[in-house]
């Protein structure tokens, strides 16, 4: 009896994990620009992997496997937002076009691509003068010594 119920739970977890992963794939194919695509891929993809690993935990029912599967889930949940943040930041600063119907872009004209500084818009004039790049200093340092 309990085996039967467990089989059903595993089947539901596996199928829903596959469905969520497929949803992430559809989102990454259909959505209009980089940020919305990342919004689809990170959350739905991480949930799909988590459901699949939960199914594996129930299927093997072994302490070592449960620990490993939990490690996978924790790793995915920690690293997916970090990677999405890094790629989104890089994409925005590289100048990837954003969707026409985007309502707000708060970072517009705040980023200096030469010095890689991001201004908050609340600086005092002295701070702005200190942030201004000095033109005579080369960006690429040839020797490691200053």
């Amino acid at each position: 009896m309990i085996e039967y119920i467990l089989d059903w739970i595993i089947a539901i977890l596996m199928l829903s994990g596959g469905m969520f992963t497929l949803l992430a794939a559809v989102g990454i194919l259909r959505l209009p620009d980089l940020l919305t695509r990342m919004h689809a891929s990170t959350k739905a993809g991480a949930l799909g992997v988590a459901l699949m690993m939960a199914a594996a935990m129930l299927h093997f029912n072994d302490l070592v496997v449960i620990a490993k599967a939990l490690a996978v889930v924790m790793f995915i949940f920690i690293t997916a937002p970090i990677a999405a943040h890094a790629i989104g930041r890089a994409g925005y600063f590289v100048g990837v076009p954003i969707w026409v119907k985007t309502v707000k872009d708060e970072l517009f004209n705040r980023y200096d691509s030469d010095t890689h500084r991001l201004r908050s818009g609340l600086e005092t004039p002295e701070e702005l003068a200190a942030l201004k790049p000095s033109k005579d200093k080369p960006r690429i340092r040839v020797s490691t010594k200053k």
């Binding site: 089989d7 595993i10 089947a11 596996m14 199928l15 994990g17 596959g18 469905m19 992963t21 497929l22 992430a24 794939a25 559809v26 990454i28 194919l29 980089l34 695509r37 990342m38 891929s41 993809g45 991480a46 799909g48 992997v49 699949m52 690993m53 199914a55 594996a56 299927h59 093997f60 072994d62 070592v64 496997v65 490993k68 599967a69 490690a71 996978v72 790793f75 995915i76 690293t79 997916a80 970090i82 990677a83 999405a84 890094a86 790629i87 930041r89 890089a90 994409g91 600063f93 590289v94 990837v96 076009p97 890689h116």
Partner: protein, 89 residues
């Protein structure tokens, strides 16, 4: 149970194909990086399914390594994009 395994493999395979279409189409390099990262995530899910399908728990280790490599690759690509060399996309 067998039909459930096959259905899950089918769903994940369709996901693979859709992500590959975006990987080929992707107008810019960051789009392709996002598609590659999701591809690795689907690979992790598929490894988990395969571990259940073959009833061998060793495949969970493969899933751990795949997730680790995908994260490192994504961070490296983001770093390269932000401060890297010449781009033409």
């Amino acid at each position: 149970m067998h039909i459930v395994y096959l259905l899950t493999f089918g769903l994940l395979s369709i996901a693979f194909v859709l992500i590959f279409i975006r990987l080929i189409l992707g107008p810019t390099l960051p789009d392709r990086v996002v598609a590659l990262e999701l591809l690795a995530t689907v690979a992790v899910a598929m490894t988990g399914t395969y571990a259940i399908f073959t009833d061998r728990s060793s495949f969970i280790d493969v899933a751990i390594v795949a997730a680790l490599t995908a994260f490192l690759g994504a961070i490296g690509f983001a770093r390269f994009l932000e401060r890297g060399g010449p781009r033409d996309d």
